[in-house]
Chain length 250, copies 2
Amino acid sequence: MAERKRGFRKSVPTDSTSIETANKALPDRIDETYIVERIYSAVMEHRLPPAQKLSELKLCEAFGVGRMRVRRALLLLSDQGIVELEANRGAFVASPSPKEANEVFDARMVLEPAIARRVAIEIPPECLAMLRRHISLEGEARESSSGADLIRLSGEFHVKVALASGNLILRRVIRELVTRSSLIVGLFGASNHMDCPDGEHSDLLGAIERGDADTAASLMFEHLRKIKDGLELAPPRPKEGDLKDILGLR
Amino acid sequence: MAERKRGFRKSVPTDSTSIETANKALPDRIDETYIVERIYSAVMEHRLPPAQKLSELKLCEAFGVGRMRVRRALLLLSDQGIVELEANRGAFVASPSPKEANEVFDARMVLEPAIARRVAIEIPPECLAMLRRHISLEGEARESSSGADLIRLSGEFHVKVALASGNLILRRVIRELVTRSSLIVGLFGASNHMDCPDGEHSDLLGAIERGDADTAASLMFEHLRKIKDGLELAPPRPKEGDLKDILGLR
DNA sequence: TGTATCAACATTGTTGACAACTTTTCGTTT
DNA sequence: AAACGAAAAGTTGTCAACAATGTTGATACA
């Protein structure tokens, strides 16, 4: 995760459990990481749609910082596949191709079961409690049918599972993939949008709780497979310059 | 891809700790990623030691670019834990604490067995061949006792295993961790430096080849554990402000 | 000799101006 | 009216000067 030591920042909410939901107190010193966090959150909550233009000027105004900070934040985001930088054209929220979408879920299906297994083997009690609380939050959001919250919470669950390993590197990796998944679901999510099917998080946590590593891993795998299968990734939609393909030439 | 090749390659002053070994052809347009790649390589080959200062000016001269490019590259590297930025003091090659070292190997021991398992289940023949060739290169380096090569090759093997999954995200994650491991081995590597014990890569590849996923995963795990156990992580060497601990105060 | 202080120097952080490029607008032509 | 092209406007990329901070070395003093 590389927490850089930037001078002395007092109370940057780099917090690790709650993932920066919304209007929080501004840190007294805004640096790249803060901007990155906010854009991360916006993407997770589907408030920033894929391909959305991210104008430097507007971001400068929004955050009240100079262009340099914004450009650095965008560079970091682009390195993580959340944003795409096009030379002389600017930054856009990433709009993953079906191929990339496949790659993201493929990676998740390799990595997350392993993390679930590890967490099932050894999890601190307070993390168990945290995950349980989180699931009940998901339930509430489902009841009150507050879609935005549910979307965010569904993704955050996976991040928190990774966090329960106590390893911030794992958390970082999963967070990146979950955020990209959020874009993917926004693009290819089927009409019957069952993002994270109801009881599955709960089942997974149950396996973790009783230390059943194999089951935890396999539940995680199946859970991800289900989400992926719920996507409509069929037509490898053209991305750029593939007009000939569309028209059947070539 | 490669458009035009202009011949304005700037002369490389080859500073004392030459980051530029000038083996490779320079791209006609140097961007952040190129600089990042070169520093990655230098770290992997132990040509850049931990805590080495990375002066902006020297990097500018070395790569023949403006300060902006260098600063962007350093930002990316710091985000990946390869470089540490200290406000108003500049960039230094990261010098992981024992705690961070633990975290890196911990993450690897979770992720890489899962990748090995996946690769064992399905690997393209040409990747098998590539891995086999790689191992024979390692053998040669071991014979001719060319230490630098062996160090680099040992790390690269793990990256290539990840690459054999066909998933570039996995490759990227592992590459980052392997590079950080390279720093860690440089710092904590025991006197009897058996970086990647002789036959283990070969054994692992054998399991992969015959599709024995469980064995592949467990060999990878044991392999990493052995490397980690070979480190001397015992005394949580102070990093900052822990002077009191050293002096027994507090 | 060793330590504290301060000034000169060196490096990094930031800002603003300008250049390069893209997009939009608008007038002209077919 | 549609298509084309050129000027205008807007955005991004680059650079250099300046400000802020850290480092070094010299001098004074105990």
